[in-house]
Symmetry: D3
Subunit: 169 residues, 6 copies
């Protein structure tokens, strides 16, 4: 069984993330979706809790009719020692061989471990979460950048207010 890891902070989960998941599921039998910085929340760069992000991903994949037999969602806390981080991740998870990432440092760190294949995610929607957080704060045009179930959750938990209170004046 070919197993891959896709790790991100998903602050929030957006349509670019969904593209990567679809690509990874075509190329593998099983995908572990790791929610990074799981214990960070109510911060400008990390506004949403791990539980909120878990819900965003699960509702989106359900809405996309992607079978839960194909993936697991796993919150992974940060540790303040990057050189140790890939090992920390690998101990928490079942074995995987392939890593999907757009981040140069995550790419390099897993490459150094020698035993992983690193795949660059094809960029279909050139979106990043920083843009969305900025748009969310202004309540301007953010909805089209996230899947509909994420938009629904962001309205329910009041994403604009969340950004406003976490932004240092």
């Amino acid at each position: 069984m070919k197993t891959a890891l896709f790790i991100g902070r998903f602050q929030p989960f957006h349509i670019g993330h969904l593209d990567v998941i679809k690509q990874a599921l075509k190329e593998n039998d099983f995908l572990i979706i790791g929610i990074g910085s799981a214990e960070d929340n109510f911060l400008p760069d990390n506004p949403f809790t791990a539980g909120e992000r878990f819900g965003m991903i699960r509702e989106t994949l359900k809405n996309e009719k992607i079978s839960a037999e194909k993936y697991s969602i796993v919150p992974i806390r940060n540790i303040n020692n990057y050189a140790l981080w890939t090992k920390h991740v690998s101990i928490l998870l079942p074995p995987f061989e392939t890593v999907y990432t757009g981040s140069p440092i995550v790419k390099k760190l897993f490459e150094k471990e020698k035993k992983y294949t690193i795949k660059n995610s094809k960029i279909i929607h050139p979106i990043n979460a920083t843009l969305i957080r900025t748009a969310l704060l202004k309540n301007a045009d953010w909805e089209k950048m996230v899947p509909p179930p994420v938009a629904k959750i962001l309205r329910e938990i009041n994403g604009q207010e969340r950004m406003a209170i976490t932004t240092r004046p």
Copy 2:
């Protein structure tokens, strides 16, 4: 959707744990299976890594033909402050209303939060993981206490050796 949490250390996952999962899935729409003390491993009371325990649970539920649409497996690290622990758990996970546990302290701590229903798990197989770890160390009669996929994993990772090196002489 009725969602429940079943949290344990699963050192290792055994047939009593499987009974609780089956009961909980009858009484709920979705079950979060929390792997407690996720960062403890190679210790007498916590010999297996979170990743190994994740594999034991997933292989068993697959073997039991339980649909992955019905559950998520989530490693949860310990924090050294029990009164804070239920909140820590609730932040990492999507919302749940019911908690299955056989542990008096977990029961009490979730009761204090007021918003959870606590269910005692019916004991069908009166087994505990301590017994299994002791049997594993002696390589005596442990196989019948764990589901077949767990027995397979314990042989592959050499569970007896694991217990032997983690036991302080």
Copy 3:
């Protein structure tokens, strides 16, 4: 007995903080004064130790003839998980029902817990600690922004030098 919490970092304690304490003591029987980020010190935003800040508050309230029967001063360390922070605070302290704060995030976090009344502190002296730290570094006009006992302590521990060594060039 009506008990309230006023939590701040008090870097340093200033006349705006004293206003809030006086207001809270009029509206309650007992006030817990929580010194936040208690283990941060010798940093640009957190130059003074918890012990130094404890002294600033105690000497000021004594000077104001406010009875010690009415308040407790309690250092509270930070934890790097905001969603967990209010619970962390509530475990360390005797029960309280009301929270005084000017911070939108502290307001929101305690509101989410449902069981607290949040009071905005009336602003009489529109002062903030950032201004004072900047003034302290330049040794310019900071004294009128702090109560006399704080000014005395800041001279004794050499607040200007403290700011100078903690400021990254």
Copy 4:
């Protein structure tokens, strides 16, 4: 002003602790009462939270008509490095010169710092908290070992149940 520190875990606060406080208040102008291991709770040796212990001490001293002008109660968390512990304590608190303790290791660690006077507390009531916790679990004869306000709190929070759930079987 002569200031002293009395540090203990107060699990629970008992009449021997009260004796030390009375002695220390005779010999000093101000007493800091440090609640050690403040973040430990729901454990066999540390069953009560810092907030519960804070309440036990405050209610007792109020009942004894000891003026709050004379003392402060401060929760102090543990750090896992004993040689660093006295320094950790001294940073969180206003200056003190004298330490009251019955513990040989606390005595030695403060002696090594050179600048503190160590006082052995006179033992009037030869009681220790371990005895009380054991009695509490059996609900046998524990009430006479604690001041009346502590007995009241222990009944309210159900101290016997607390001990029962924290005791590993």
Copy 5:
């Protein structure tokens, strides 16, 4: 250049440890001597600080006329995740290929990393540090189990008293 690691807690450093160092220096060009559990001290199993243990090793090797060109002494703190520990060690140190250890778990953990040669240390003096700590507490016959410079240090820092205060009654 052949580089090896010898890691131990050295509580205290004894003649069995010295045997291993001599063996390792014959078989390698350079030896890293790792002081494990470096931040533990004043505890029954870990009575001495990293600095004290550093001194014991350095004075002994100087006394043995072993050139400092051949070794480095490095304190290494513990992390509470065994499966992560070998990686943590390898990040703190220059590269090494061989590990000397008498501990089954350290042996196994480095073996799992695949890239290290594990050497069992030949036992010439069948001594262990637990015996010495027990003897130290009774001040009975411990001196012959440690090199003379260690005996000198243990007398200077009063090793018997150290054991007495760290022993839980």
Copy 6:
């Protein structure tokens, strides 16, 4: 024996650092070279691991024909409490009396401990590591700022790539 401490982050080790070591070795019998922030790595301000920095220093001193009898290299992790930091350092190391530093805050913190002599390092090469990291990223003129063995290591581990992946875009 006169023992001194020189503590820095050495990100990377440069010719200004080497000047200080030469000066300190003239004025003392033994020098402890402390690698600060030892567990930080792959970060813009802390790109290199403790092990990599350890190698840079050791290879340089060997190249300079400085006897290893005269110094020890010791990685020291950061703790997030500055007022506690000097004590943390002193517990990990054998005794020292003199501290070499160019940092105003390190100077002040050791001065407060009263028992250390603080020496300003004479500045012969007015270089700082920030400049080198910036030059490394641009691969422009950094080689003359570091000793030849450090230049060799930076080429081997690809210092330019390291800076590129750690720089936030």
